[in-house]
Structure formats: structure tokens, C-alpha cells
């Protein structure tokens, strides 16, 4: 089909490859730049890497090309401390012959769309890093000692390799004070919330009171992925109204069909790989550990089954369209399932750090992540949030 050849992507778009662009999807007649690597995915999702140049493709193939780097980005490990950062230099390594599928290839296939920009990738890495630090899985305390820094580096390297498939070349703490001015950030916050009166310059300083009005939604960044309160949409109560309005205000209630589809695609592609990697871990001896390992693998395969049979977003049942409030509830739960999946990758990276894997120390976290995935996927499946029927019937607590 050479009919539309002259509308193809201009060469300028992939000329940023290796600088502002990590990878790009190639269309029919595009040729990859000389210093890049080509990954061809067949319709079944199997990847093969090829030399750069004119791509030989079969029917239904998806072709990406990526530049191995190295790339350099500045990350902010703590949102509360924007003036101190980490300067990270990473590259995409040559294919590891010992694994069936390269992690970076899976990342491209599952998360990159038309292109993978350096800034978008940097934001994803920063989100993963901040989440791990907030949950205490990585530690980067003030006045870090050399031992603590080395431990952090080992965890970070493994996290980026397991979650994104990139290899960390170098990582140093860096003062971002030249490019980021925390004072400007605070001024912008003050301007965004009019209730804060600027203190008069000459008078001795009094900390202005925290305003009682809500900050405009643009400034709102709730850290948690807790999607619990979305269930309130179904409950015809006064509380439900304020929840619904909150999420409408923060833009989360808009049923985002594309995001839901992407989330389910990620789960479909990544859950089997994650569970395969967990299966390959070298575990310490012991029947109890073996049993709990098997139980986790069983739960993950049930979860994969649940993803494979997930009903479509817009329909409650055949011929019964679903109202938009319930669709947005479903979207919220698929997004929350994705964040649980990301936690799962991070957990795998912690387990891969040592051999034999410290399974017993992470049993609770494994259980929590599986339970969260199960919960969010069952909520994504349900057409309507279940109203808690406990009060109306049954289930009396034993009383003395």
C-alpha cells in the first residue's frame, strides 16, 4: 500500500533520536537512523531486534527503533525538596542473551505509544522513584553516609532495570538550585490561593495562616492511589455528592476510554511476564516459603485470567449501556490496578537484589500487592459498585 507514502512522518520527527527522543514507532516506509537499533514485534507480541536500516516487515508487525544512549536527566527524588536532585545517566544495553524477552522491549511494546520522549520517560522514572522512597522501599535520608548511598544506588539500579529495562550508568546527587527556584514555586502557590495575604515587607514576619478555601484543582496532587472513595459514587448519600464533585473537579471522573484501554493492555502484557520473573527467583529452602511462593504465583495467574476476560468499559451487560459515572469508576480502578502493578515490579526488583531472594521479609508486601490487584480488578469488572449490605442483613458480630 504505497498510496499514502508522501504523507508519511517527516524525517525531522525522529531526528531527535538519541537526544530528546528515546524511541519512535516506524511507519511503513520509514527507515531507522544508522546508529539506532530496531525492534520488530510480530502480531503475537514476540520481539526480535534487528540492525538499523530499511526494515523488512511482515504483515501486522509493529516496528520501533531506539537509540541506546547514553541519556542524562535530572530527577527530583522528593517533591518537597525541589532544589536537590539526582543526575542520572542511563543507557539501553545490548540484548541480554539469557532471557527470552528483553525488559526494555516489553516496556516499549506495552507503554510507549507513537514515540517515547526523554521527558516523558524521565517523569515515569521520577514517579517510580518518589513512590518507592515514600513507601520506604528505598532510603535516601538526609546526610546520607557512604554505605547508605551504595545501598540506595543498588536498589535504584535494580529498580530501573527491572521496571524500565534501562541500565544506570552513573547517578550523583546534584544541586538544582540554578535551574529550579523553590521561592518561585512558593510564590506561585501564594498567587494560586488568594486567601493568603502577602505579609507586609517591613513588619516582623508572621507565618500567614493556611487558607480555608480549596486550592484550584491544578495544584492538587494527592499522592495516594487510593481509589477507595470512588465507591461512594454509587451510594445515594450526601457524602457521595461531595466525592463525585471532588473527582469531577480534579478531572479524574472524566471517563478516559483510552487510558482504560491502555491500562488493560499493560496488565494483559505485563502480568504474565511479572509472574514468570517471580517464578524464576532463587528462593531459600523451606516448605513454608515454597508454599507461599506457589500461592502467589497461583494468585497472579488468576489475576491474568481476570484481565483476559475483562468486560468492556461501556457496557453493563449485552445491550445495556453503562452510565458515565460508573464508567469513570471503572476507569479509576483500572488506573489504580496499574499503580499496583508498578509496585509489583518494584517488589520484584527488591527480590532480585539478593540471592537467594529475601522472600520472607517481603511476604506481607507481596500479599498486599496481590490483594490490591485483586480488589481493583474485581471493582473494574463489576458494573456497579457494590453497596455494603452488611447492615441490612446477617453477619452479627459475636457479643458478650
Amino acid at each position: 500500500m504505497g498510496l499514502f507514502k508522501r504523507f508519511r512522518k517527516p524525517a525531522a520527527e525522529i531526528s531527535g533520536l538519541g537526544r530528546s527522543l528515546i524511541a519512535a514507532r516506524l511507519d511503513e516506509a520509514d527507515s531507522a537512523p544508522a546508529d539506532s537499533t530496531v525492534v520488530v514485534f510480530n502480531p503475537a507480541g514476540h520481539a526480535r531486534r534487528a540492525e538499523a536500516g530499511r526494515v523488512v516487515r511482515n504483515e501486522g508487525d509493529t516496528v520501533y527503533c531506539f537509540h541506546p544512549g547514553p541519556y542524562q536527566v535530572d530527577l527530583t527524588p522528593f517533591a518537597a525538596a525541589p532544589e536537590i536532585g539526582l543526575r542520572l545517566r542511563f543507557l539501553i544495553d545490548a540484548a541480554n542473551p539469557r532471557v527470552a524477552q528483553q525488559r526494555f522491549d516489553l516496556f516499549l511494546f506495552s507503554e510507549a505509544e507513537a514515540e517515547l520522549s526523554l521527558s516523558g520517560f524521565c517523569a515515569a522514572v521520577q514517579g517510580a522513584l518518589q513512590g518507592e522512597l515514600a513507601r520506604g522501599a528505598l532510603d535516601l535520608p538526609p546526610c546520607t553516609s557512604l554505605d547508605e548511598w551504595n545501598e540506595f544506588r543498588a536498589g535504584l539500579n535494580q529498580l530501573l532495570y527491572t521496571r524500565f529495562g534501562v541500565t544506570v550508568d552513573d547517578c550523583v546527587p546534584v544541586d538544582l538550585g540554578d535551574t529550579i527556584d523553590f521561592a518561585d514555586i512558593l510564590r506561585a502557590r501564594a498567587a494560586a490561593s488568594p486567601a493568603i495575604a502577602l505579609p507586609v515587607a517591613a513588619s516582623p514576619v508572621v507565618a500567614p495562616p493556611v487558607p480555608q478555601v480549596a486550592v484550584p484543582p491544578a495544584a492538587v496532587t494527592p499522592m495516594s492511589a487510593a481509589a477507595e472513595s470512588f465507591t461512594a459514587v454509587a451510594e445515594p448519600s450526601a457524602a457521595a455528592i461531595s466525592h463525585a464533585s471532588l473527582y469531577a473537579a480534579t478531572g479524574q471522573a472524566v471517563a478516559d476510554v483510552a487510558a482504560d484501554a491502555k491500562a488493560l493492555r499493560r496488565l494483559f502484557l505485563e502480568l504474565p511476564v511479572l509472574s514468570g520473573a517471580l517464578r524464576l527467583l532463587v528462593l531459600p529452602d523451606g516448605v513454608e516459603i515454597f508454599k507461599s511462593h506457589q500461592a502467589v504465583l497461583r494468585r497472579l495467574s488468576l489475576l491474568a485470567l481476570e484481565v483476559n476476560t475483562m468486560p468492556s468499559l461501556a457496557w453493563a451487560a449485552p445491550d445495556q449501556p453503562l452510565e458515565s459515572a460508573q464508567q469513570s469508576r471503572r476507569c479509576a480502578h483500572s488506573a489504580a490496578a496499574i499503580s499496583a502493578l508498578d509496585e509489583g515490579w518494584a517488589l520484584l526488583s527488591r527480590l532480585q537484589l539478593e540471592s537467594p531472594a529475601p522472600w520472607a521479609g517481603h511476604e506481607d508486601d507481596t500479599d498486599r500487592i496481590c490483594a490490591n490487584l485483586e480488589y481493583h480488578l474485581s471493582q473494574r469488572r463489576a458494573a456497579r459498585a457494590q453497596v455494603d449490605t452488611e447492615d441490612s442483613q446477617e453477619r452479627k458480630e459475636p457479643k458478650l
Partner: protein, 365 residues
């Protein structure tokens, strides 16, 4: 790993948090946990007032949005023993804190816990209240070891909460571990330091540094720093310490207007200085943020070089820190103490989820 440390400590089966209502009655909010079993995440029961129960459920769910770790395995049941009047919202903070304590997020061991506060934006973690009124109302109920957490509206003079050691004023839920409010235009961070006053009265005291951007630089740095409740000599020492430490920082001078507050404004010695300097660095967004509190003891004759020197009272201070340390806390001590620390001390802190560093210099490594 720290996660396993977090879960190694047994979770409490139930937690109680009290609130002295506007009409003088004492309300007790009891939280308990049970397996989820396909039920709602939070269940609230208020006998005879379902509307208040619904409000409590909404408050708790919104406040959970400020937590980084989501767990769907447990259901938390919250109940009130008496019914507050519908207009009284001062119990909201008690409900939020009880919900956190029963899930092991707040390591508080005081015999009785009181709270007073409400919020219009719980999803941001902000807390408001009327501290003067609340403290005068609750003072007859508080015994010496009790803890009272009060939402702050910045109207209270510093002397009001110094009347009882267990009183803490917060404007933000993160302030319980010293973190700055991520949505406020004033960045304020707290750090803790051990106050040694002869055995039984030893306590951890805090220092809070609040910074706000200054519009025109060029004024004398010391004039932009104020501290309430301190005598002149202490104020001068605070100003000199901060100026010198900001000089060491390189980008700290001439940018900020600063307010320093102390939990206990009356003390002697200089061991608060390291905590003050670290709180200042945290408030200005110039240092890595610990997950829990930052506990520090140390002074210096050369803050402009970032040096940390030793202080007195090592044994009682170490003992106090070990007793008070909780999960996620970061403890900074002078380098000279390193040799005297037994290995078991570091291990005991690690078992509590806290980390320790003996430093000769502030900043990275």
C-alpha cells in the same frame, strides 16, 4: 529492608482517640480492624446519628488520599460513644488519627490521646482548629503523660501550647513527622532534638523553621529571621547559626524571610543547633526528606564550614532517642559519638525502623 521492619511490629488491634467537644463532653472514637471480606474499606457507626457516621466515613476516606501506601486487605471500623452535635466538627481530626493509628501508621504510646481539629480539604491533609479555645477546654482532662494534637489557625501565642508538654499544634497532617505542607505557600519543617533535664523530665523537643520568599534581597540576613518566645541572647544565637549555615549552603542567603519556633522556648545549651540547621534546610527544599521525623543533636563553632561538633550529655540523650525513635525516623549525631556507640544501639534503632548517622559535616556524604 525497611518494609519488613514496618510490618515486623505487631499492629494494634484497636485504637482510641478522644476529643473534648464544644459542650464540654468527652467523645471517644474507637477504631478497630478486621479482614476486609468484600466489605467497605471504612465503616462508621454512630448510634442514633447515621448522618454523622456518613460524614466521618467521608472525612477518613478523603484523608487517606495523603498516604502513599494503599492496602485493601483490612476494614477499619470507627465508632463514637456519644453523639456530638451536628454543628460541632472538632472530632474530625480524632477520627483521622484513630484510623491511622489502628493501621500502625502513627507510633504513639501515650496512655490517652486527645485531638481537636477539622478541615475543609482533608484530601490535601490540611488541618484547622481553634487552639486557644480547645486547650482551655481540654486542660482539665489532660494528665501529664497525655498527648493532645490540635489543629492550628496561627492565632495562638507560643506560650499557650508550652503549658503542657504533650500539646502539638499542626496545620497539616504531615507536620506530625515534620514535613512541609506541599500545597501551602509557607514552607515549614520541623526537626526534633533531645532535651536533657536530669532523668525523668528528659524529652524530645522540636524546632520549626518556616520560610517565605522575600521580594527584594540586599537586606541584612539576620534581620529577616525572627523567633518568638526567645530571650535576646538565644535569638542572637539562632540568627547567627542560621546565617552561617546558609552561607555554607551557597544559595540560602537573601532569599527568605524566616520564622523560628521552639516547642519549649526555655532551655539552655547549644545542642539544638543541628536540628535547627537541618529544619532550615528541609524547609528551603535543599535536603533529602526523611520518611519520619528528623532527630538531631549537635552544635558547631563553624557552621559556615558546615562542621558538626560534639555536645554534652551523650548517655541520657542516646537512651532518650532510642526510647522515642519510631519507624522512618532519621537520627543525626556528631561524629565524636560514633566510637562510643555500641553495635547493639544501631541494631536496636534499625529494629524500630529508624536509621542513624554520625556526621562530621552536613550535606551529602
Amino acid at each position: 529492608m525497611t518494609i519488613s521492619m514496618l510490618t515486623a511490629q505487631p499492629l494494634p488491634a484497636s485504637a482510641e482517640w478522644r476529643c473534648v467537644l464544644a459542650d464540654g463532653r468527652v467523645l471517644t472514637i474507637t477504631a478497630s480492624r478486621r479482614p476486609r471480606a468484600n466489605r467497605a474499606d471504612v465503616k462508621c457507626t454512630v448510634p442514633g446519628a447515621p448522618a454523622i457516621g456518613e460524614k466521618m466515613q467521608e472525612v477518613v476516606r478523603l484523608a487517606r488520599h495523603t498516604e502513599p501506601r494503599f492496602d485493601s486487605r483490612d476494614q477499619v471500623l470507627l465508632s463514637m460513644d456519644i453523639v456530638p452535635s451536628p454543628a460541632d466538627r472538632s472530632w474530625e481530626l480524632a477520627a483521622v488519627l484513630a484510623d491511622r493509628k489502628v493501621r500502625g501508621l502513627l507510633p504513639n504510646t501515650a496512655p490517652r490521646l486527645y485531638a481537636h481539629g477539622w478541615s475543609d480539604c482533608w484530601h490535601l491533609g490540611r488541618v484547622a482548629g481553634q487552639p486557644v479555645l480547645a486547650i482551655s477546654r481540654a486542660s482539665s482532662h489532660l494528665s501529664a503523660a497525655d498527648v493532645f494534637i490540635v489543629g492550628d489557625d496561627a492565632s495562638a501565642a507560643d506560650a499557650t501550647h508550652a503549658s503542657h508538654p504533650g500539646i502539638t499544634l499542626i496545620q497539616h497532617l504531615g507536620a506530625l513527622s515534620g514535613h512541609a505542607d506541599p500545597s501551602s505557600a509557607v514552607s515549614s519543617a520541623r526537626a526534633w532534638f533531645p532535651l536533657h533535664s536530669g532523668g525523668i523530665n528528659d524529652s524530645l523537643s522540636w524546632v520549626e523553621v518556616s520560610v517565605y520568599p522575600i521580594d527584594h534581597g540586599g537586606t541584612d540576613e539576620e534581620d529577616t529571621i525572627t523567633a518568638s518566645g526567645l530571650d535576646l541572647a538565644a535569638l542572637k544565637a539562632v540568627r547567627e547559626t542560621l546565617c552561617a549555615a546558609r552561607h555554607f549552603d551557597g544559595k540560602g542567603l537573601g532569599r527568605w524571610r524566616t520564622v523560628v519556633r521552639f516547642g519549649q522556648p526555655r532551655f539552655q545549651g547549644e545542642s539544638y543547633q543541628l536540628a535547627l540547621v537541618m529544619a532550615d534546610r528541609l524547609a528551603r527544599g535543599r535536603d533529602f526528606v526523611p520518611r519520619g521525623r528528623l532527630i538531631a543533636s549537635g552544635c558547631s563553632g563553624a557552621w559556615h564550614a558546615g562542621r558538626v561538633e560534639t555536645v554534652e550529655g551523650r548517655e541520657p540523650k542516646l537512651e532518650l532517642i532510642l526510647k522515642q525513635a519510631a519507624s522512618g525516623d532519621r537520627i543525626l549525631l556528631p561524629q565524636e559519638w560514633q566510637a562510643a556507640l555500641p553495635d547493639s544501639y544501631r541494631a536496636a534503632l534499625k529494629a524500630r525502623g529508624a536509621s542513624l548517622a554520625c556526621i562530621a559535616q552536613i550535606g551529602m556524604i
